[in-house]
């Protein structure tokens, strides 16, 4: 390679001095005291001071020429998606392989004997709901016997919050990505209290699932088809401006959804009692929109999968035991690490001692720049980690921007001067900075059936990203 000619006269002397201070903070304070614009980098050794990981990062830097364009393509696919909520269908009709005695669950693959309490409780409830066993005891025996096939939702094009149960007869939202033609699925959010996603499995839980299947799902499906679907991108943008981040807070988007769908629901079939019940159910659930947002996340991320050389994360999820990620350049391979405990606030009567480790596919929202990544749009949520106000909310989003390669201009954050939500998590940046993706989450009781006991923030374990980095470096070596 020929060197560029020398003798470019530096223009430093004719530019205003604005300083990035990396290291001793006193220098930044001196500059600030003289009204010099300065930003302090709270520097830590790259890759947490791990020489092996730092060497792998260096090896990947040598492949920059193939990684950068691959990541640019991954980001383009993430940003170009046009998700539309088109229908509610029966899961077994739209998800391939979801037949008799197959259960889709949240997170990376897991066997019965490694499942946490809420997941086992939900599995037992789902078996009873489908009629594969007559009661919870028999259902638990059946599950333990190996007669049930457990598969991750992500393998079925679907996602589910917390335990994430999907079985053949459940109604699922269908989100279509109009740009790429792919579809993704999620169940209808059950509301708060005793619910299957938190491991609840008593008669009230099963009854509600039946009502969703027999009444609510068909009404919503009819309504969505009759209005040609609801375009989700613009709806999310409005929700962000109204203080939602679509993970812990879905108040605005749930209301916007109801506003968009209410007339069509009323016009559809069914008794006025049924219609009223459906409207009341949606109106009474601040988190109704969560599952729609999640299916949207899956529909957006799937086209970015399997791009050779790309180091962009395409899925993050947890099953209550393991946290798993998928990376574009390594296809459908899971990189897992033990899941961490969320840090947060608890409902009266509960404490950390009651909490189940982090669980659910809902981290798909952070994967597309919502949830904790969009905290700056939703300062009300930041209180879950204590202390901070608006400034801390901004810090969360900025930190997540540090590990993302781009921003989504379709989803601007007013408080950040309408900068887009951070998009395209880069495994390399996560390892280099040691900044673990933050995830806004509900906290489940560790025993099945109790339900939600708090809410807070979890971190993706860095071990997943270290493992992914090793695999990516190995691929570049052998290419």
């Amino acid at each position: 390679m020929r060197r560029p000619p020398r003798a470019m006269t530096p223009d430093l002397l004719h530019r205003p001095i604005e300083v990035v201070n990396v290291g001793l903070a006193g220098f930044a304070q001196d500059l600030a005291s003289r009204q010099v614009p300065v930003v302090q980098v709270d520097w830590t050794p790259p890759a947490r001071g791990d020489a092996t990981l730092a060497a792998l990062l260096g090896r990947l830097a040598a492949s920059e020429g193939s990684i950068v364009p691959a990541n640019a393509e991954a980001l383009r696919r993430l940003l170009d998606g046009e998700p539309v909520l088109v229908d509610v269908q029966t899961a077994g009709d739209v998800i391939a392989g979801l037949g008799e005695r197959v259960i889709l669950h949240a997170g990376p693959p897991i066997e019965w004997n490694r499942m946490c309490g809420p997941l086992r409780g939900a599995v037992a409830g789902a078996i009873v709901y489908e009629g594969w066993a007559r009661d919870l005891g028999a259902a638990t025996e059946l599950a333990a016997s190996g007669a049930i096939t457990f598969r991750p939702n992500h393998d079925g094009g679907s996602v589910g919050p917390m335990t994430g149960m999907i079985t053949r007869s459940m109604p699922v939202f269908v989100v279509e990505n109009r740009t790429f033609g792919n579809r993704a699925y999620s169940t209808i959010n059950e509301g708060l209290g005793k619910v299957m996603r938190f491991g609840g499995n008593d008669a009230s839980v099963i009854d509600r699932l039946r009502w969703l299947r027999d009444v609510c799902g068909p009404r919503l499906g009819d309504a969505l088809r009759s209005i040609g679907g609801i375009s989700l991108g613009p709806l999310i943008a409005r929700g962000l401006a109204m203080g939602d981040e679509m993970h812990q807070r879905n108040v605005a988007c749930s209301a916007l959804f109801l506003r968009a769908a209410a007339a069509a629901i009323a016009r559809g079939g069914g008794s006025s009692e049924d219609i009223a019940a459906v409207l009341q159910f949606i109106g009474g659930n601040d988190q109704f929109f969560l599952n729609i947002a999640m299916a949207m996340g899956k529909a957006i991320t799937d086209p970015a999968r399997g791009l050779a050389h790309s180091t962009i994360v395409t899925a993050m999820c947890r099953n209550g035991t393991d946290f798993g990620i998928r990376v574009s350049g390594t296809g459908d391979r899971w990189f897992t690490a033990p899941v961490e405990m969320p840090q947060g606030l608890y409902f009266p009567g509960y404490s950390e001692a009651d909490a189940n480790p982090d669980i659910g596919d809902s981290a798909i929202l952070e994967t597309i720049g919502l949830g904790a990544f969009a905290m700056a749009a939703s300062p009300a949520v930041v209180g879950f980690v204590g202390g901070g106000g608006v400034a801390q909310a901004l810090d969360y989003t900025r930190a997540m921007a540090d590990i993302s390669i781009g921003a989504n201009p379709k989803w601007p954050i007013p408080l950040l001067d309408f900068a887009g939500v951070p998009s395209g998590i880069d495994v390399r940046r996560v390892v280099e900075t040691g900044i673990a993706p933050a995830i806004n989450t509900g906290i489940a009781h560790r025993e099945a059936g109790v339900g939600q006991v708090g809410a807070g923030i979890a971190r993706a374990p860095l071990g997943c990203f270290d493992a992914a980095l090793r695999a990516l470096a190995e691929q570049e070596r052998t290419r």
Binding site: L12, V20, V41, P45, A380, R429
Partner: protein, 497 residues
């Protein structure tokens, strides 16, 4: 035995997170076992009832109300908690940051926050410094690399990268620069003016720029290039770029170059560059043997002379002769205890120039090296900022107390005729180094040898030049107008014995 009390706050809404935080604060109160503040919905009432927090008075609460429930060790504690709720409910979350400085976790994040950033000031540990500097250069930033322990290979690679991109890599081990009137790292507040400085030395740049300021002149820019820039391995890359920049800068009328003696090949390149310029130059290569200069350049043998030539004035020419000699003359050796490496070199050169033998841990050409014990037959001038003194400790410019112990030893040595000191102030330096020195001197015997000091700094510096001088003089310390003057006065003390 516990006591449950509850109350209803009517018509009050707070988001659930705020309520949970208030609940947490209440629970933390003395004598309180558990507390909750919730919106008065049926679900919440049931929840509170189940956890034994709902008193009879709260059963009638409506969803528009807040319910406060407390279980405490006794009634007094419960009532106190209920009474404290109002303050907690109205307390606004305070901004935790409390500082105007934006913070980022990475250089990339910082440049997003400060899109107009023009320079990165890097002071991370040496083994990581080159990587951070390379990142900054690739992001289009000029770099002031304060870190030391960067290898010569890394320095060369960084400077090549910088040159390819038209960026300045100042350093490594660059303590100071003054760009566009902005003091960076260890630097002083000086007026703007026509003198531009290129310095392979931090305190050299500080001494010359502050003396120019004292002489009524001003500085256009002061560019630190790192102590090794004029070595063969580096080839003066940054120095030559800095000269290009200052030559092209309309505000700069006179250019001063400060360095240790350069490698001959590099010296030639620098002198050729000077010869091409229409501007006037002062070349201060401390310890350099005679060297032929282009017609537009003059040679300065001390930092003070460099400032004098740049301004065309002489500083306090009668100070040395006019200043009263100390009464208690004793000993025959000067002990120099320096924070600034280049000031240490300048003092050695003054002593050598007066025919006095000198030894130092950082010897200039003509001085002997010392390791450990003080030499018997030479004046010892020590750089306390050298690696052997600063390993695992702060630099004496930041922590001048490091000098107190060697000062005590010098004071108690009957051979000591005078102690020579520098007091360096400005940004980055200790907030009041003169007082640290005076405190150390105060605990010493009255019959001590004379202390001759100079203060490198200006009235505009945070420590204020005149205050530092007054503090020193109040303890009987002789304060010279420059380091060269101080060393010359020490010579006069020696010769007047």
């Amino acid at each position: 035995m516990t006591y449950v009390a509850s109350r209803v706050v009517r018509g009050r809404y707070l988001d659930s997170v705020s309520l949970m935080r208030v609940s947490q604060s209440l629970s933390a109160l003395e004598g309180v076992a558990e507390a909750a503040v919730m919106i008065g919905s049926d679900t919440n009432k049931r929840l509170m009832r189940d956890s034994g927090l709902l008193g009879a008075e709260a059963e009638a609460a409506q969803p528009a109300d807040l319910i406060v429930g407390v279980r405490a060790e006794n009634e007094a504690a419960a009532r106190a908690a209920l009474a404290g709720v109002d303050a907690l409910l109205s307390k606004r979350a305070s901004n935790a940051a409390g500082s105007a400085i934006g913070h980022a976790r990475t250089l990339a994040g910082a440049t997003k926050m400060l899109p107009g950033a023009s320079i990165a000031l890097i002071s991370v540990p040496g083994e990581f410094a080159a990587a951070e500097a390379a990142k900054a250069l690739r992001a289009g930033l000029n770099v002031l690399l304060f870190s030391n322990n960067v290898s010569l290979d890394d320095e060369f690679a960084l400077k090549q990268l910088a040159r390819e991109r038209g960026l300045l890599l100042m350093g490594p081990d660059c303590g100071t620069s003054l760009l566009n009137g902005v003091p960076l790292a260890f630097a002083n507040v000086v007026p703007r003016g026509g003198v531009g400085v290129v310095a392979a030395s931090g305190t050299g740049l500080q001494e010359v720029t502050t003396l120019v300021a004292h002489g009524g002149g001003g500085i256009s820019h002061g560019i630190g290039v790192g102590g090794r820039d004029l070595r063969d391995e580096i080839g003066g890359i940054t120095t030559l770029m800095a000269l290009d920049a200052l030559d092209a800068d309309a505000a700069t009328t006179h250019i001063v170059i400060i360095s240790k003696p350069p490698a001959p090949r590099v010296a030639n390149a620098v002198l050729e560059r000077i010869a091409k310029s229409a501007k006037r130059f002062t070349v201060c290569l401390l310890g350099q043997a005679d060297i032929a200069l282009p017609s537009n350049a003059r040679r300065a043998h001390t930092l003070r002379e460099a400032a004098e030539l740049a301004l065309g004035v002489r500083f306090a020419p009668d100070f040395v002769a006019r200043t009263a000699l100390p009464q208690n003359r004793r000993g025959n050796r000067v002990r120099g205890l320096y924070c600034g490496g280049t000031l240490c070199a300048e003092a050695q050169l003054v002593l050598l120039g007066a025919g006095e033998p000198v030894a130092s841990n950082a010897p200039v050409p003509g001085a002997r090296a010392i390791d450990g014990a003080m030499p018997d037959r030479a004046h010892a001038v020590v750089d306390l900022g050298a690696d052997e003194y600063t390993r695992g400790r702060p630099h004496p410019m930041m922590e001048p107390a490091i000098r107190s112990e060697p000062l005590r030893a010098a004071m108690n040595d009957p051979a000591t005729a005078a102690v020579l000191l520098d007091v360096v102030i400005g940004y980055g330096a200790h907030p009041d180094p003169a007082s640290v020195l005076v405190d150390a001197v105060g605990s010493m015997p009255a019959q001590r040898p004379p202390i001759i000091a100079s203060v490198c700094g200006t009235e505009g510096d945070p420590q204020v030049y005149s205050r530092q001088v007054r503090t020193l003089e109040s303890a009987g310390i002789i304060v010279a107008p420059s380091n060269a003057h101080a060393a010359e006065f020490a010579v006069r003390v020696l010769h007047s014995r």
